[in-house]
């Protein structure tokens, strides 16, 4: 049964997806601060840089990776040849959850949603022929982020690239994993330790590398609104700041390397204003709560994904249009790096054909649309300044709710935040089923039985798991076994006490070709595993 409301029902829609009522026409007197000031000046409503994209174009960063390191290496070389300017590594679930490919839980998932990186041997293959000193690399990795970062350092050592030259990002945001994405391993508190270890270490060793990307993308995709996406993310951000300060970090220093990551969905103005509001609110929070005055430390730098759950399986070519609109919203919001999903990601890993269209979309926005020519072209619009204010106060309200509950860590441990998001997801689904939330081609203007409209089908080589297993056995046979055992023992000993930064020990484990599964086993032995609250 497909909902087909009458056209006049759509005309009555007067709220943004976050529920902010939209005026028929915005006027000068609606915003309290109608003049947003200049970009590059606190509170950075219009952007963190005075010259916007003229000085620093956004990074075109397509998320990619599948199968074994060899296949992904080929795809990366293809994307770099096509003008991509940064790599974004998708890892398979066993690597993300800390299982070696031969673990019973891992077998069906090896190489499926990303590349298998069970040890340094695989990372060496992944980046063969790619100079790590010349490229910035982003890893979507959380539960095992510290390990993958250590592996990246070891890979750079092997290539002879000085660590200080490395640029890139590890997501390393465990709090939202408990809430939405689900690749947690350890309980919340030791996980926070590992994150603080990696950030503090990275600040010293790889000063140009972002050791965390605090992400709202996944809670957004799990169902919450744009306002909640930003509010939950900033709340998590403050929790990391508190932890780093507790560990003796200097906020004016480490805040310079904190970065953020979001989804862009379809409401162009709400999305652009979400970034304007979030950027301003983050700067204000750091100043209000911690007295930060260092301009660079107040900079809210963020990457975005266009697509995700806003993509639709029905009539998938329409997704190219959706992604282009979302791409515009991200640029109008001032994103530092952008990933555009391929139109077929609603139902499969992109083919090379669809991945190329996604990249071309960004290039068209950059070189043909003219939107990046002047900084924050929306600035000063009555509607945009008003909506930015409304969103900022909505975000503060959500953050107050979390504080009132007892803070984000408690809200997660109790499952309170998870329940709030599940209820939101249900509301969104109900609104879609009722046809109030229009999805063209799915619940409006749907055509049944368009069986041939899916385009090229991506086929993952079915022999991958077997090949990865073989390489895993081989890597363990070939390594210096006593060195690996010694490195793992040292790691476990240090993890058992709270005295030492674990990063140098993880780097040594990687150099010794210890596997991700082995390192995680040792840490689990000390810390146990997260017990998921499943009450609905």
């Amino acid at each position: 049964m497909s909902a087909q409301p009458k056209p006049e029902a759509a005309a009555a829609r007067v709220a943004t997806p976050s529920g902010i009522e939209v005026p028929v026409v915005a006027t000068r007197d609606m915003a309290r601060e109608p003049d947003p000031g200049l970009p590059g000046v606190y509170p950075f409503t219009r952007g963190i840089f005075a010259d916007g994209y003229r000085g620093r174009p956004w990074t075109l960063r397509q998320y990619s990776g599948f199968g074994s390191a060899e296949e992904s290496n080929q795809r990366y070389r293809f994307l770099l040849e096509q003008g991509q300017t940064g790599l974004s590594v998708a890892l398979d679930l066993p690597t993300q959850c800390g299982y070696d490919p031969d673990h019973p839980m891992a077998r069906p998932e090896v190489g499926k949603v990303g590349v298998s990186l069970f040890s340094l041997s695989e990372m060496e293959t992944l980046f063969a022929g790619i100079d790590l000193g010349a490229i910035s690399t982003s890893f979507t990795i959380n539960g095992t982020a510290a390990i993958i970062y250590a592996m990246y350092l070891a890979a750079a050592d092997k290539q002879g690239v000085p660590r200080g030259k490395l640029t890139g990002t590890i997501q390393n945001d465990i709090l939202k994993e408990y809430v939405a994405r689900g690749t947690w391993i350890f309980p919340v508190r030791p996980s926070m330790r590992l994150i603080a270890d990696s950030i503090l270490y990275a600040n010293e060793v790889t000063p140009r590398f972002n050791a965390i990307s605090i992400a709202g993308a996944h809670v957004r995709d799990a169902g919450c609104t744009a306002v909640e996406e930003m509010a939950y993310t900033l709340a998590n951000g403050l929790a990391y700041v508190d932890e780093l300060i507790r560990r003796g970090g200097d906020v004016a220093k480490f805040a310079r390397r904190l970065s953020f990551f979001f989804y862009v969905h379809m409401d162009l103005f709400e999305e652009a204003c979400k970034f304007r509001a979030g950027r301003r609110l983050w700067a204000r929070l750091l100043r209000e709560r911690y007295g930060v005055t260092d301009e660079k430390a107040l900079h809210f730098r963020f990457g975005v994904v266009c697509g995700g759950s806003s993509l639709v399986a029905a009539q998938p070519y329409n997704n190219i249009v959706r992604v282009a609109i979302e791409n515009l919203a991200a640029v109008l919001g001032g994103a530092q790096s952008i990933f555009t999903c391929a139109y077929d990601e609603a139902f499969q890993i992109p083919t090379e054909f669809s991945a190329e269209i996604a990249l071309r979309t960004q290039q068209i926005v950059r070189h043909e649309s003219g939107v990046a020519a002047t900084v924050d072209p929306l600035g000063g619009s009555y509607y945009v300044e008003w909506l930015t204010e409304r969103m900022e106060s909505g975000m503060r309200e959500v953050m107050r709710d979390i504080d009132a509950y007892g803070g984000v860590v408690k809200a997660i441990e109790d499952g309170w935040l998870q329940r709030r998001i599940a209820v939101r997801a249900k509301e969104k689904k109900d609104a879609t089923d009722r046809g109030e939330r229009v999805i063209v081609g799915q619940n409006r203007y749907r055509r049944e039985a368009q069986a041939d409209s899916y385009g090229e089908v991506f086929r993952l080589d079915p022999g991958i798991a077997a090949r990865v297993l073989e390489k895993h056995a081989q890597a363990k046979r070939r390594r210096d076994a006593p060195r690996a055992a010694k490195a793992l023992d040292a790691l476990e000993a240090a993890a058992a006490t709270d005295q030492e930064n674990l990063m140098p020990l993880l780097v040594e484990c990687c150099h010794a070709y210890a596997t991700v599964g082995e390192m995680v086993e040792r840490l689990k032995h000390c810390w146990g595993e997260f017990q998921e609250p499943v009450r609905l």
Binding site: R181, D221, A222, F347, K429
Partner: protein
């Protein structure tokens, strides 16, 4: 549907499970809430459960149906393992449903392997409940 009618899944105990390592649980939770609204008694496993665990819970809790939520692309293998497990335990009569990101090309293969129904995120909840109620009648 009038407000006083018996909910369509009243008295049915249904297991909603997340097999494998996939951590996307928004869909599973929406389904669990919808089943509960429809009168079912819902057991939700939480993330990262092995097929053996899911089969054991299905038997121990004497459920009327099992729903597997899979968005990682491993639906063929994981559904097969759960179906085999139920069969081996003499519980092949417990219907298994699959929901998630299921490419159109895989849908028929799942149904042929013994899955009773396949739902994706564009399936209206009311339709899912209706199909379930019919299968469990």
């Amino acid at each position: 549907m009038s407000a006083i009618a018996t909910p369509p899944l009243a008295g049915k105990r249904i297991l909603v499970a997340k097999p494998g390592l996939d951590g996307h649980d928004a869909g599973a939770k929406v389904i669990a809430l919808a089943l509960r609204d429809a009168g079912a008694e819902v057991i939700y496993t939480g993330l990262r459960k092995s097929p053996e665990f899911i089969v054991r819970v299905a038997l121990d809790e004497d459920v009327a149906a099992v729903g597997l939520s899979i968005l990682s692309g491993s639906h063929q293998e994981l559904a097969r393992e759960v179906l085999d497990g139920l069969r081996a335990a003499g519980a092949a009569d417990i219907p298994v449903f699959v929901g998630g990101t299921i490419p159109p090309k895989d849908r028929d293969a799942l149904l042929e392997s013994g899955v009773k129904g396949v739902f994706t995120n564009d399936t209206p909840l009311a339709q899912m409940i209706e199909e379930l109620a019919r299968a469990l009648a």
